[in-house]
């Protein structure tokens, strides 16, 4: 490999600046929200949100902690759904991947196509909604937050491709030794496929943590809503209050002025998104690996 020490050219400086600027812009909203959650409403109205709080206050967090019952409940829902959903989706998708990667299985080809079709064609949300509410009776059940996302063609194929790349002799010799299919899957294939399992686990966990769609469509009871829906509800309530304040009494306006409504919203973002940001540095390389594997062959 020819390694030449390169000079710093104007082009290189531009590249460095471009990359740095984009990274800064990616980071900016996060910092703005943290700062915003610590800014008083009057300062926000006077100057807008900035990177450093102009008038420091923890009122927003006080408001959240005095009303913490619903937040804790929503946290419980989200954590529960994420843990159960991720475990379930990892299990059923990897089992399916194992099955469709068996070359001599009668019907493996059919099962492959069965999974593939769900990637290519979708009934859309209207029939989906009718099936979920009228036939599967998922309205206001926790199953509505777990089951619809559990089986994923994308994850099945990601794991299948990994299984396929493993030497077939592993399987055959275990078969000769009398191991059952499930045992081979559990004792040989899953442990050897740890990298791809980690990637799928993280993608699934992220999808469950960030999900609000199933809450929006299938959950009507407020106490069963996950965190992301709670975040949405707070936005809607604040919008409602804002709209009301235009015609409200001076007393109401004064209340609104003191209540750090934007701040509350941003503090809730800090609380709900915080866990993702905290684990991100440790897990991001698995995502990168997953994308690279997936982009080589879907």
């Amino acid at each position: 490999m020819v390694q030449v020490k390169r000079r710093i050219t104007p082009g290189y400086v531009m590249v460095v600046l471009f990359v740095g600027l984009f990274a800064a812009l990616c980071l900016y909203p996060f910092l703005m929200v943290i700062s915003g959650s610590l800014t008083s409403r009057s300062a926000a109205v006077m100057h807008g949100f900035s990177l450093i709080p102009k008038e420091f206050t923890t009122d927003a967090y006080t408001v959240l902690f005095t009303n913490s019952a619903s937040i804790i409940k929503a946290y419980q829902v989200t954590v529960g759904v994420t843990v159960i959903g991720t475990a379930l989706s990892l299990l059923i998708n990897s089992m399916m991947a194992f099955v469709v990667s068996r070359p001599n299985l009668y019907g493996a080809k059919f099962l492959n196509i069965y999974v593939l079709i769900t990637m290519l064609f979708s009934g859309g949300i209207v029939p989906w909604y009718v099936i979920c509410t009228q036939y599967l009776k998922l309205t206001d059940t926790y199953a509505a937050l777990v089951l619809p996302m559990a089986a994923s063609a994308w994850n099945v194929f990601l794991i299948r491709n990994y299984f396929r790349s493993m030497p077939h002799e592993l399987y055959e010799s275990a078969r000769v030794d009398g191991a059952s299919h499930f045992r081979i899957y559990r004792r040989i294939y899953v442990p050897l496929a740890k990298p791809i399992m980690a990637t799928v686990l993280l993608f699934a966990a992220l999808a469950y943590w960030n999900d609000w769609w199933h809450g929006l469509m299938l959950i009507n009871r407020a106490e069963m809503q996950p965190l992301q829906m709670m975040l949405r509800a707070v936005i809607a309530n604040i919008q409602f209050l804002m709209a009301q304040s235009g015609t409200a009494t001076p007393w109401m306006n004064e209340m609104m002025a003191r209540l750090p409504s934007d701040g509350v919203r941003m503090a809730l973002v800090v609380i709900t998104t915080g866990p993702i940001i905290l684990v991100y540095p440790f897990v991001q390389r698995y995502f990168v690996k997953g994308i690279m594997v997936g982009s080589v062959k879907g």
């Binding site: 020819v2 390169r6 082009g11 471009f18 990359v19 740095g20 990274a23 990616c26 996060f30 703005m32 929200v33 915003g36 926000a44 807008g48 949100f49 059923i92 089992m95 399916m96 194992f98 068996r102 009668y106 099962l111 999974v115 593939l116 990637m119 290519l120 064609f121 009934g123 859309g124 949300i125 209207v126 029939p127 989906w128 909604y129 009718v130 099936i131 009228q134 089951l147 089986a151 099945v156 299919h181 943590w209 960030n210 999900d211 609000w212 469509m217 975040l231 949405r232 936005i235 934007d262 941003m266 973002v269 998104t273 991100y280 540095p281 991001q284 994308i291 690279m292 982009s295 879907g298």
Partner: protein, 313 residues
């Protein structure tokens, strides 16, 4: 003879019963949440006033294309939603691809591993954030009174823009949001392709006296063309589908932004859950599903023609 063969086959199938049992949960869930809704598409040809009657017991529409007539005749909102979907996806595909490519090539040039890793990790972070939170980020910048961008513009020009009342700004805003969210993610895909390029090509170019810029232009880019074409074709296959969360949460579903920001997915949602135009929403959904399917099939065939094995099937 054939009897014997059949028996052998049956014995093999019974011997593999564990495998079929392992496939069952996934098969069942896909059946419930993917295949049953596909069957439910016949709703588009039914006259539905109340979902509790069920898909099969609802009477047929009269005439059979009644719902489609409602959709296509004198329904400017649906046509506008279709136009917006196509236009926004066109923007995302064209500008988004150029940006992701520029970002990937830039990352590839950075010589300090620490700076490269740091900037790359940060640029990938927005991909992890839900659209609900992105909506709050955007309103933190664009809100009339408190938005940081609104205030910045105010301090320069002395004017405050009511962003949430002006649909004209939003194609640009949404494009920026989409690049912010997916730029780092897409750059990684291109970086993966770049890392697959034979280093000997660069050595040869260097010996021939090519500068770094020339190497990028004459070696890296031409070798990326197949990847670019394939990703673009696959994206065109999904051009009828918009990201519901993005358009629903980031615009806060404000009615004044519908002229440019109402896409097929948000239109169908509203027709289904709010206005109760079940007929129109099923017809729109049917139209979207069928056209998408045709586009996906054609685009995958095309991608496969350019590079074998690059498509979904």
């Amino acid at each position: 003879m054939t009897d014997k063969l059949n028996r052998k086959k049956i014995r093999r199938i019974f011997g593999d019963w564990q495998l079929y049992a392992m496939a069952l949960p996934c098969v069942a869930l896909l059946f419930a949440f993917a295949y049953m809704p596909m069957g439910g598409l016949i709703l588009a040809f039914k006259r539905v006033t109340d979902f509790s009657v069920g898909i099969f017991r609802s009477p047929w529409a009269d005439p059979w294309y009644r719902n489609f007539e409602l959709l296509f005749r004198g329904n400017p909102a649906a046509l506008s939603a279709m136009r917006n979907t196509l236009f926004m996806n066109f923007l995302f595909i064209s500008v988004g691809t150029v940006f992701a490519l520029a970002l990937a090539l830039s990352f590839n040039e950075i010589r300090r591993p620490f700076y490269k890793r740091l900037t790359q990790s940060i640029s990938f972070l927005p991909y992890f954030i839900s659209t609900v939170v992105i909506g709050i980020f955007v309103s933190g910048m664009l809100a009339f009174e408190t938005g940081s961008v609104t205030n910045l513009i105010h301090s320069i020009t002395g004017e405050r823009i009511r962003f949430y009342m002006e649909p004209g700004y939003w194609p640009g805003i949404m494009l920026a949001v989409n690049i912010w969210r997916l730029g780092g993610f897409n750059a990684i895909i291109y970086l993966a392709a770049i890392s697959g390029i034979d280093p000997q090509l660069y050595e040869a170019a260097e010996i021939d006296g090519a500068s770094r810029m020339q190497q990028t232009w004459h070696v890296t880019l031409p070798l990326l063309v197949p990847t670019i074409i394939i990703l673009t074709i696959l994206a065109i296959g999904r051009i009828m589908n918009a990201d519901f969360g993005l358009f629903f949460n980031v615009t806060r579903d404000v009615a004044s932004l519908y002229p440019t920001m109402d896409v097929l997915d948000t239109y169908i949602y509203r027709a289904l859950r709010r206005s109760g135009d079940i007929g129109i929403s099923t017809a729109t959904g049917f139209f979207q599903s069928v056209v998408s399917f045709a586009l996906v099939i054609v685009s995958n065939k095309l991608a496969n023609k350019i590079e074998k094995g690059s498509a979904l099937f």
